[in-house]
Amino acid sequence: MSDQIDGGLRSELQRQGIWVTSMEELYNWGRKNSIWPLQFGLACCAIEMIATAASRYDIARFGGEVFRPSPRQADLMIVAGTVTKKMAPQIVRLYNQMPDPKYVISMGACAISGGPFKQGYNVLKGIDRYIPVDVYIPGCPPRPEALLHAFMELQRKIDSQKLTGNAKAEHLDPMQPSEFPVPAFGAHDLEPAANPRLFQPPKIERS
């Protein structure tokens, strides 16, 4: 409905105290203001995440609400810290076990790319190899304000998601896979080393 009503008319009505909204907006408004993150931390970034959840920064003010210790009740996975190859299958499995719709914030250089430990044989070079990431936060570690910013970006994304039509959100499409393959420990590395559906590294052209 909000597509049919003119924006100018809408704000005019609003000024007169008449609020016009659509189911979609209402639904998304509810979703974006009650995001329950999964409660787990991986490395030093997790300390910043804890600070964000604690009284000084208080992510609940923004709708971050309660950190849930079970994926069944979580909407958001904050990958905060270094993902070792030993931990990666668990993270993917936890992500799979979260109910749709679900979102991922990749917090810190480590979760994005391996960060300072990128050369380490045991460090995964970015969690986006296995699960789709919605918001990346650079920094080592990112400050709590940065996490709040990422959170607000995610809210913006949720707010803009369509519930119907061709461009509707991915989680509403029954054709999309609901799970991502969990990597297994191979002889030298995780197998597969990345999910080709999600991760295509740019090809380096050497002349």
Binding site: S70, Q97, M98, P99, S178
Partner: protein
């Protein structure tokens, strides 16, 4: 409503014709606040209150849930690790016995420390009484031991 008032009402109504009298009585019973009536209300609310969110959640799931189940999603949650075996495993009651025995000897240690500190200045009577106390506990330990309470997962106990 005070009793006298009800009575006054009853006597007032009883002068009415017979048929309406019965109806009136029914109405009166329904209107009179029985002291237990609140418990009935309370029970009703206590049942409806938890059922309503469950029903709403069920309805929501039925009509609006993104239909995307999966084997991994429905699997048992075990902190991300693949679950091993059944979720309904039994824990040995042996553990409880261990705890109780540990607790007894833990408390004994509290008594033993002041005894050890004051040992040189103790009269003979105090020494003997603590000795008896120790002997009692040791006897208990021997008894528990001989009963097999200290064998973790022993065949004797698990066979029972």
């Amino acid at each position: 409503m005070p009793n006298s008032l009800i009575k006054a009402e009853c006597t007032g109504r009883s002068k009415l014709p017979r048929l309406t009298n019965l109806v009136d009585d029914v109405i009166l019973i329904a209107m009179t606040p029985n002291p237990y009536f609140f418990i009935v209300i309370f029970c009703g609310v206590a049942v409806v209150f938890p059922l309503m969110p469950l029903a709403l959640a069920w309805l929501w799931r039925r009509f609006f849930q993104p239909p995307r189940p999966g084997a991994g999603k429905n699997a048992t949650y075990e902190c991300g690790v693949e679950s091993v075996g059944e979720a309904h495993v039994q824990f040995q009651s042996q553990y409880y016995l261990y705890c109780v025995i540990f607790l007894i000897f833990d408390v004994e240690a509290i008594f033993l420390v002041p005894f050890a500190v004051a040992f040189t200045g103790l009269p003979v009577g105090a020494f003997i009484s603590i000795l008896v106390f120790l002997l009692l506990l040791i006897e208990g330990l021997v008894w528990a031991w001989s009963k097999g309470c200290l064998d973790w997962g022993s065949k004797r106990l698990s066979a029972r």
